[in-house]
């Protein structure tokens, strides 16, 4: 933002940086407004809650992806890692391990894979795109290696987590997954905004060479963001298994695209260095509301979701371009 003239008052500087996020917020409100004006049931607060319930896992994974994209990288493995986490937990539960142990083991998968991918990217200087592609293949392959069919989960802890409703007397409720997702969002927002790691992430995304010359730990931060992304994908996978109460080998195929789309719609620049967790939350909500609108409409088919997401992606990238955020 240094390109702005020094004479500009500080209030004029803020909106420019926050413009993509504000645009997403405006879009979200407009879409919600359209929904409310068109369909009576849309104004029910439960609709909003349902968007969170149905997209809790997406939110968590998108938070991890935000870290990676902020450094200028990309992580294609998240969907497969989430599926693998769900698959492994279903498989371990089926073989009779206690729920807590399964949870710990399953949550270790994502960060481990993320750490290894981060090492490959940093130490061997291979493109993140290729390394995480390999990670994606690996995790997806492991899913079917474990089982070709979906494994149901009957464990008490899992069903409780899945079915427990936190709500008010009028019957509106959220699931525990939503609370987990909120916790992840808050922690991530804190880390990005107020810790050394968060600043390093922004600095590396802005210009890795300058960051290195400034003495910032380039390698450690890079490996850390892929590990964080892996951890978030792992948590997302657990939430996914709460949501579906099963582990299916083909679940979450193409989810990485939804996640990347959500992050970009949320205003994070893909070359890194600019973006907010709050924007990502809004991006996920936009995707969720589109889905809800199309469900409410009934006459539109599911493929319209993809076309609309594509159109929104285009609109937001164009917006970022127009307001002059550095785009390679």
């Amino acid at each position: 933002m240094s390109s702005l003239s020094i004479s500009a008052p500080s209030w004029a500087r803020l909106p420019r940086r926050h413009m993509p996020v504000l645009a997403t917020l405006a879009l979200l409100l407009v879409m919600y407004g359209i929904g409310v004006s068109q369909y009576r049931a849309f104004s029910n607060i439960q609709v909003v809650f349902n968007v969170f319930i149905d997209n809790g896992f997406l939110l968590v994974i998108a938070v991890g992806m935000t870290f990676v994209i902020l450094t200028g990288g990309i992580d294609l493995s998240v969907g497969s890692v989430a599926a693998m986490t769900a698959m492994v937990s279903a498989w371990l539960l089926q073989s009779g391990l206690p729920a807590l142990l399964v949870l710990v083991i399953a949550l270790l998968i994502g960060p481990t894979l993320g750490f290894l991918m981060g090492c490959a990217i940093h130490f061997f200087d291979i493109q993140p795109f290729i390394v995480t592609l390999a990670g994606m293949f690996f995790a997806r392959g492991m899913c079917t290696f474990i089982s070709n069919a979906s494994i149901p989960i009957n464990d008490g802890f899992w069903t409780t987590m899945s079915q427990y409703r936190i709500g008010d007397p009028r019957g509106n409720f959220v699931s525990i997954s939503v609370l987990v997702a909120f916790a992840v969002v808050l922690i991530a927002a804190y880390v990005l905004a107020y810790t050394r790691l968060g600043r390093n992430v922004y600095a590396i995304g802005g210009n890795p060479q300058s960051a290195l010359l400034m003495g910032l730990p380039l390698g450690r931060t890079r490996i850390a963001v892929y590990t964080i992304s892996g951890l978030c994908a792992g948590i997302g996978g657990i939430l996914l298994s709460f949501y579906t109460l099963s582990g299916a080998p083909l679940i979450a195929i193409g989810m990485e695209l939804d996640v990347i789309a959500a992050v970009v719609i949320g205003g994070t620049v893909l070359t890194g260095g600019s973006g907010y967790i709050f924007g990502t939350v809004l991006g996920v909500l936009v995707l969720g509301v589109i889905q809800t609108l199309i469900t409410f409409d009934g006459s539109l088919n599911s493929w319209w979701t993809k076309i609309v997401i594509g159109g929104l992606l285009f609109a937001f990238i164009l917006l970022q371009r127009l307001i002059g955020i550095r785009y390679k």
Binding site: L116, C119, D125, I126, M136, F137, A261, L270, I307, G310
Partner: protein, 357 residues
């Protein structure tokens, strides 16, 4: 001795050495596992056998990868090829399915022309986004990758379009001079691209744009146009590949035609030695990469492993090939072999652990 050693070292250093070695090892492993693997027999005037099958099935991937090579050599990437395959296949099949006489050659040619036209328009869209508006390629093509699947389903109205057209089927399954027609189509495309890029200055211009777009522009090359062009070529290649894929099964499925082909194509390009950073491209390497991927897939099918688990092997191959080609990895490896103390980090071991995992 030193002469032979030198020659060996040059061979080892050749950029195609490792891909060729991988291919040979895979073929050898297959032959050991199934002695009839390499046998080819003449049946009904056509050649049949696993090697022929591998060639035939790799034709669409070769096509897509050819276009991808050009895009990647300009420093870009085209994620939308799979969607373009699906859209072009759906349009062609839709037109043919509505025609009164599906075996009519004119009908099929019209369908192909329409679908190719649509693909060129999509390629032009990508090209405009990247070269005129200046959006980062990975994200510009991501738009069409996401929306394109929706468009393909829109064209097909969510159905799988089944057709029964002899001429169209021939694109995928027909024969010419005892060999499958698809091989010739892929070969012709490869020769055409090679002729245009290696026999004229075009290839060098593409590489120079990939090396430094701004410098090329200042040197008098219309960088924008070159970038625009490679995306159009990539979409055209993808469209022909889409015809083959749909012709193979005589039906178009908006959801699954060309699914993940963009990843396979990028993989083929990288295995072939073209750097994702742009500035250099190797068409021969790309074709070799596509053959490796198809051989791997066929091997896995032949060994009765589920197609999804095949991804596990693909992951191993990707990591292995990328590591071998990564300069940083080679340097570390060489340093260790020549007796200097190993580097402080234990990362190479970590990496090796991941490969067999």
């Amino acid at each position: 001795m030193s002469d032979a050693g030198n020659r060996f070292r040059t061979l080892l250093g050749h950029r195609l050495f490792w891909p060729v070695a991988v291919l040979v090892v895979m073929l050898a492993a297959n032959t050991v596992y199934r002695p009839g693997f390499l046998s080819v027999e003449v049946n009904n005037g056509h050649l049949y056998g696993t090697p022929i099958d591998i060639l035939r099935l790799s034709a669409p991937l070769i096509l897509v990868a050819l276009g991808m090579t050009l895009v990647i050599s300009t420093g870009g990437i085209d994620l939308s090829v799979g969607s373009v395959c699906a859209i072009s296949g759906a349009i062609a099949c839709l037109y043919i399915s509505r025609a009164p006489d599906q075996d009519n050659l004119v009908t099929v040619l019209t369908a192909l022309a329409m679908a190719l036209g649509a693909a060129l328009a999509l390629g032009a869209w990508n090209g405009v986004l990247v070269s005129v508006i200046g959006i980062q390629p990975i994200i510009a093509t991501l738009i069409l990758m996401v929306a394109g699947r929706g468009l393909a389903q829109l064209v097909a109205e969510g159905q799988i379009i089944t057709i029964n057209s002899g001429p169209y089927r021939a694109i995928g399954l027909g024969h010419l001079l005892t060999l499958p027609l698809a091989i010739f189509i892929a070969l012709a495309a490869a020769l055409l691209v090679a002729a245009f890029t290696r026999r004229t200055a075009l290839g060098m211009i593409v590489e120079s744009v990939g090396g430094n777009r701004e410098a090329s522009r200042l040197a008098g090359i219309r960088s924008g146009r070159v970038v625009f062009l490679v995306y159009v070529v990539s979409a055209a290649c993808a469209a022909i590949a889409g015809f083959m894929m749909t012709a193979n099964v005589s039906s178009a499925d908006g959801n699954n035609t060309g699914l993940w082909v963009e990843l396979d194509a990028i993989l083929a390009v990288v295995i072939g030695g073209t750097s994702l950073a742009g500035g250099r491209f190797y068409l021969g390497g790309t074709i070799l990469g596509a053959l490796i991927i198809q051989t791997l897939t066929t091997t896995v099918y032949a060994m009765n492993i589920s197609p999804q688990t095949a991804l596990l092997f693909k992951a191993v191959v990707v990591i292995a090939v990328c590591l071998i080609q990564a300069p940083a990895f080679r340097a570390k490896f060489r340093r260790r072999r020549s007796g200097t103390p190993p580097p402080p980090q234990s990362s190479p071991q970590r990496q090796k652990e991941q490969v067999p995992a």
